[in-house]
Chain length 111, copies 2
């Protein structure tokens, strides 16, 4: 579920926008309401709600409404999935470099 390409699309796409990254950054310091998320952003509340809906659809943020205020939280599982995708590719590359280095060292010995 977390490794399905469509979900990764949504997550990376969500993170590609500076306003949405700013929202995630704010949420990493604790839960916040929609208005609190909107406060530092130079755009209408409506625009913020649209960004928030994207973040929620991507799984990066979870929200719940109590009375008239919607409280938003980070969903660390989704962050971990994005992190993991990048990490696997980077490690694959680095392991390859290591093997290449060993191979070169060995063939040097053999001359």
């Amino acid at each position: 579920m977390l490794h399905d390409p469509a979900q990764l699309d949504l997550m990376f796409q969500a993170l590609a926008d500076p306003a949405r990254r700013q929202m995630v950054d704010r949420l990493s310091r604790g839960p916040a309401s929609v208005s609190q998320l909107a406060e530092p952003l130079a755009m209408s509340l409506s625009a913020v709600v649209q960004h928030l809906n994207l973040l929620e659809a991507s799984g990066l943020v979870r929200t719940q409404k109590l009375g008239r205020v919607r409280t938003c939280q980070i969903e660390p599982t989704a962050l971990r999935a994005a992190e993991h995708w990048i990490n696997e590719r980077r490690l694959a590359w680095e392991r390859r470099l290591d093997r290449l280095g060993e191979f070169l060292a060995e063939t040097k010995d053999e001359t």
Copy 2:
């Protein structure tokens, strides 16, 4: 340079597209030419070049041309930067949860 928001925009945006992620995935297994990158993708070579240019602009991929073939490689530093941004936010959130847990445990003791 690696933490500048514009660069992060480019990196996450680059990773948001499934074709580009597939290209990164391919490159994580070793260098490839443009045609080799294009081969599994259901689109014109020209489209692949456009994706590749984005990947290069984002810093995720480095390329060099020898004769008529452009060889592409992963740039692990950039991958690490994206990874790092996510990781910091996730850890901030998880540390916050830990502190909250400790606080709750302590106040329970005190009753």
